[in-house]
Symmetry: C2
Subunit: 332 residues, 2 copies
């Protein structure tokens, strides 16, 4: 029996590069249309008068295979003619917007100004890129991650790009989250999910903003589908970005266990890298130990396939019974 | 005596390429700060969600010496990466926006959205480019040239660029002109002008919109400074653009005389190309016959210098007395 046969619809929660890589692996491992990625929009900001959605774009470019393979974000074969001209005009040049990337921001901003929702805009862009998966912003309402640091409060991109994550983080807030509404497409995608994957994205900066949308965390808790997280911490360090630095600054241990603990109310399974196999015994939930470092599409796909098998196993297991669930898995 | 010594401040009314060329010549022939160019904004439009001001930019790029010398509009050493990416995203690609050019539209649009007037935005851009002359939009209020054709009404850029001036023109209107206000900087520039030059721009599409701003034409009529037009028609054809085609379609003779007649209520002098010297006798005003075809900065400057001498001569001439003027020229 193909254990993954029952996984027909997968929802992935993703932020930037790590999430986008696993999303691309899942897309490659699944039939077209089987994947929905719910993406962090807490990083979104206004720049050059345009609405920039870095995580949505990173996911989109990776799913379309037009991403810059060196950085993981931005577009392949990119040029920076507008940025250079902007700089000469005294415009802001700390956020390196490429020319091809800029076309997306122009198109998005024009559509938003015409009254389309971010969900509708993202759907149009997805189709333009010929992406077979669904990409959903976590909400159509603005949520903005504010980083409280020892140098004062910084809007996310100022902390992340302009200040290169150098200030020490004291706390985070997701401005606007209490007013943000879960969208109908997000609700529907969760409803039909057979597996929910928390991608190896920054727990605090990428996944927490998604979970800050009112009702979304509770909806996930109640969902019949198993929820599995892939650790963004491997061998005592973050694979990319400031997750490890942030854990330390927030007084946490730099460990996959910190991630598992952070999402303990949600998780039915956890994925550890082989380097951290020893930690399996410290987790009181089913664990998949596998290679989680994604260097190319083959390794992304291999991780995704292992993950889907793991998810199918959880779903099929007689012992699997999500805590807050009334109906049994077979009743879904 | 240097006859041009009394010309200290010059105002040029300009549209696109022809006007921009003469403006650049005047700037080269005059001391820094002596030239103010009042520019047509009837061509302005919204594209990709940005405010594009083609004539302002053509004048600005020519005065900055960063224009494309082949086309006369757009920027030198331009690339089109954003346009290509835009086209792949299904965006409009009939208006060929270059990457460097785009930086200006982004900057302008951002400033306009912040509440700056088009006059203030243009002043900031002028300074960024290090241009020693003043560039003024004809008004801060939107005026949009609408072209009534045998194929229906077309917004200016749709007629001019998208349809390449092919439809037959029946009439023109300047939508919003009746509500547009003359700006204080335009009023002040006219006030201190010693010479007003109607550049060799399209009379109907470039100069008429400027003169449609309420009060501007009358202010010009009453101005003590001599007003001189340079014919955009040479040897029975337009040097550039659809001026000749338009004259014919509007039932006019394709001739410098048609231009002189069109502005007869304003002009104190007229500039003919040597090719049209024979027409001098048909004009009942002082005429300068000279080389008016501007192929490079030297020829632009030569025309400007001849024009300034001609203007100084008009100003110094005892017979010079603007029709609607109460005070004598020496009283200004």
């Amino acid at each position: 029996m193909n254990r993954s046969s029952r996984i027909e619809q997968v929802v992935a929660l993703a932020g930037g590069v790590g999430g986008a890589k696993l999303a691309a692996g899942l897309q490659a491992a699944l039939p077209p249309g089987a994947l929905t990625v719910i993406v962090n929009t807490g990083d979104d900001f206004e720049h050059w008068g345009l609405t920039i959605c870095p995580d949505l774009d990173t996911v989109m470019y990776n799913l379309a295979g037009v991403h810059n393979p060196e950085t993981g974000w931005g577009r392949a074969d990119e040029t920076f003619a507008v940025l250079e001209a902007m700089s000469l005009l005294g415009g802001e040049d700390w956020f390196r917007l490429g020319d091809r990337d800029l076309a997306v921001h122009l198109r998005r901003t024009e559509w938003l100004r015409q009254g389309l929702s971010l969900t509708e805009v993202t759907e149009r862009l997805r189709r333009s890129f010929g992406i077979p998966s669904t990409i959903l912003p976590m909400s159509d309402d603005p949520v903005r991650t504010l980083v409280h640091t020892d140098e004062g409060d910084l809007p996310f991109q100022h902390y992340f790009v302009r200040r290169r994550c150098e200030p020490m983080v004291i706390d985070l807030s997701f401005v606007g989250a209490d007013q943000a509404r879960m969208t109908e497409p997000v609700r529907a995608a969760l409803e039909r999910a057979d597996l929910v994957v928390l991608c190896p994205s920054n727990p605090y900066l990428s996944l927490d903003p998604i979970l800050s949308v009112p009702g979304l965390r509770r909806r996930l808790q109640q969902l019949p589908a198993p929820k599995v997280a892939v650790s963004p911490i491997v061998g005592g360090r973050a694979l990319k970005g400031p997750a490890a630095k942030l854990m330390q600054e927030l007084g946490q241990m730099i460990s996959p266990l910190t991630v598992a603990d952070h999402f303990s109310d949600l998780l039915d399974g956890f994925v550890l890298d082989r380097q951290d196999a020893v930690l399996e015994r410290s987790l009181d939930m089913p664990v998949l130990v596998t290679d989680t470092i994604m260097t190319d599409l083959a390794s992304r796909r291999a991780l995704a396939t292992a993950l889907l098998d793991f998810g199918a196993g959880l779903l099929a297991s007689p012992s699997y019974s999500p805590s807050s669930l009334d109906s049994s898995p077979s009743a879904q």
